[in-house]
Symmetry: D3
């Protein structure tokens, strides 16, 4: 078995500026653009944990709490919450930041599963996750519950 790794070792912070080309004519960002950023941030965290390429297997339900506007800064944070045999659950939060005040709002958050792949593109074993903080231990337990729900839903 591969040696375990802590969530902080693969944590990703991504900062993006919302450009006019990311937004509809109302000046509001496309939801799909945010989903694309979420997927990239999660994918980098997964690949950092696995030290291998990793591909998106699923994304749980996602709600947009606030619109994000052109000129705002978006900060994404991705963490590996749990690792199974060849897959991982990644949690991503998305905050927007207004330029004139610096205030940050949680716009959305998402849970994704990624599968690590070997050179032939087959699923490949990943290191166990070793939660360190109380918050990480809770997230670890909840990720296992979500996995049970997902497997049950198929």
């Amino acid at each position: 078995m591969l040696p375990g790794k802590a969530p902080r070792e693969s944590r990703v912070e991504m900062t993006e500026l919302v450009l006019p080309s990311d937004a509809n004519p109302l000046g509001t960002i496309f939801g799909g653009r945010v989903m694309q950023w979420i997927d990239i941030a999660a994918g980098i965290a997964a690949a950092r944990h696995a030290r291998r390429p990793a591909v998106t297997a699923s994304m749980d339900a996602l709600t947009f709490h606030w619109p994000i506007r052109v000129g705002e800064v978006v900060v994404l944070e991705a963490r590996v919450l749990a690792a199974f045999r060849t897959s991982m659950e990644i949690g991503v939060t998305v905050h927007s930041e207004a330029q004139s005040t610096g205030l940050r709002k949680l716009c959305t958050s998402a849970f994704l599963t990624f599968v690590a792949l070997d050179e032939q593109g087959k699923p490949s074993q990943v290191p166990p996750i070793v939660p360190e903080t109380k918050e990480e231990q809770e997230a670890f337990a909840e990720a296992h519950q979500r996995r049970a729900l997902r497997l049950g839903a198929r």
Copy 2:
């Protein structure tokens, strides 16, 4: 109240070619790129139904059944399944098509909710949906159940 409209009046078919810039170094499309296409197809269907701009409010869980590869063609189909006061549920299916055989596989499907906006960016009333076929009537009923679950989950 606005006059009702049938799902076929706002149905969207979108065809995309998977380019190297859509894919990771393994030649597999990024999940986030597919999510972006799903959001655009759903948004066009929503705006067609509402005759107004519409923004993404949420997306239900989504699973990728098959990887999609560079050079394949992706066909998305979006339909308005149900309309509430100012929001709509849109169903999107994503098929990939191998060039050499023409075989199509269902790669993923998604349910999204969109909110129609008026000129001030406030939620705006949308026409009722009038399901015509048996399949549309079932999708209509199921969309109401999903909405109840979503409202309950908050």
Copy 3:
């Protein structure tokens, strides 16, 4: 000889939303952006018919009847009109749709020829086209006339 195929088997429908990044500062789409979409739609239809990659050999004259604006939806439809030994003629229509009324206008149409390629990048035989409707039979005959004109013009 390869077995013949009907035009409907390779028909492509493509739907695009006009974004600010597709348009000049007047809010009108760049002609070249539309040409790019036409080429992609035609190329997918050609590759579907040939079950092989296909590259653009030529495009006939093209006129823009109406400007297309940011926020409008563009619907492209591509059909294989005729198949020669290793090349195909594809017809593409481009309609724009105003969001607030849903009215569609024919903005432009184009005839393109594509050549199917084998693994070495050499021209490769394509299936004959079997027109089914009266409209397809007329388009088939006209495509042969255009081809004669093109060969004569060289």
Copy 4:
């Protein structure tokens, strides 16, 4: 009437490097990408001549003589060949250049018409063209013949 201008005053030279994202999986550039570059080069020449924004009205038939490959350099040259009341005909040549030898090949050429627009988006008068060289005088005469053909074809 506006004072006349020579073709050299609005001549455009554009140099582009063909990237993997411009090409199909065979490593050959998409025809539509070249058309997009042709449209941009022609549009800059038209706007330089008119000192106003100008939009694409039509493009004459276009044939690709040679495939263009990833890693090659593409050189476009656009010239205003003739100016009518509110429209202009622009000629564009497209050469590709192989990196290892520097040899240039003419890949395609195109004639486009652009219309100059005023602040309200209405057609706006453009300066006459004053051909200076023998080649420019011939191109000027031929552009008038093509215009007559185009008007006849409607």
Copy 5:
């Protein structure tokens, strides 16, 4: 005078995945793509410090120590090192991270100056910087020396 702010209040961390479309045919990232990321990261830090839009005024010399390859992750960190009346100096470091080992290498670093703008696009006063750590105090002093050199060089 505006109240001072510490460098940590505007620090930016940006994570990017190197895609095939960012790289030349050798699989090495374009220098200009890295410069673009550097400029965006620095611009976000400057705007965070000033709480206003800020535009690039200059960039000091920049050397690439190592090539960055497709599939690697790039981590940029931007900090406001010093603030003058209406301008700021920003320091940016760029590390690449190999997926299979997680090893990070410093690829390049840069010093940029940005100017804050008011609603009319005129230079606008920015808060003083208040260095907190020894390292920040040294960077603050060095930034003033670089500014003296830049002003002398004009």
Copy 6:
């Protein structure tokens, strides 16, 4: 030793239209976008001189004298100023051109060094540069002085 080449043999002229997607919400182009164009123009000139792929090694300090706005045309000119064993110094000028007047302003200029690479990605010898005009001879001498400064600064 490879035969020498004159600067005019590898000179590059690049013309770009500033689109909304190149600019911040103030309508001013991102500095990083200009840097990206500078790098591409210089890279094409370097590869033309070397007849091989060439990668960016460094860029000297760069100052923006004027903002460039959406709708303006940008003209870049790149010249190989000097060639060393496996590297070259390239000078690039960037002018913007206002559409309504045609007036050109020098916005910025830059000196970059590029290294030519062989098939294994190792530095590869480049032809000597043979300055022809007085201006080219001066630029050649100055490039050698800058190189001495750069080597001294390490």
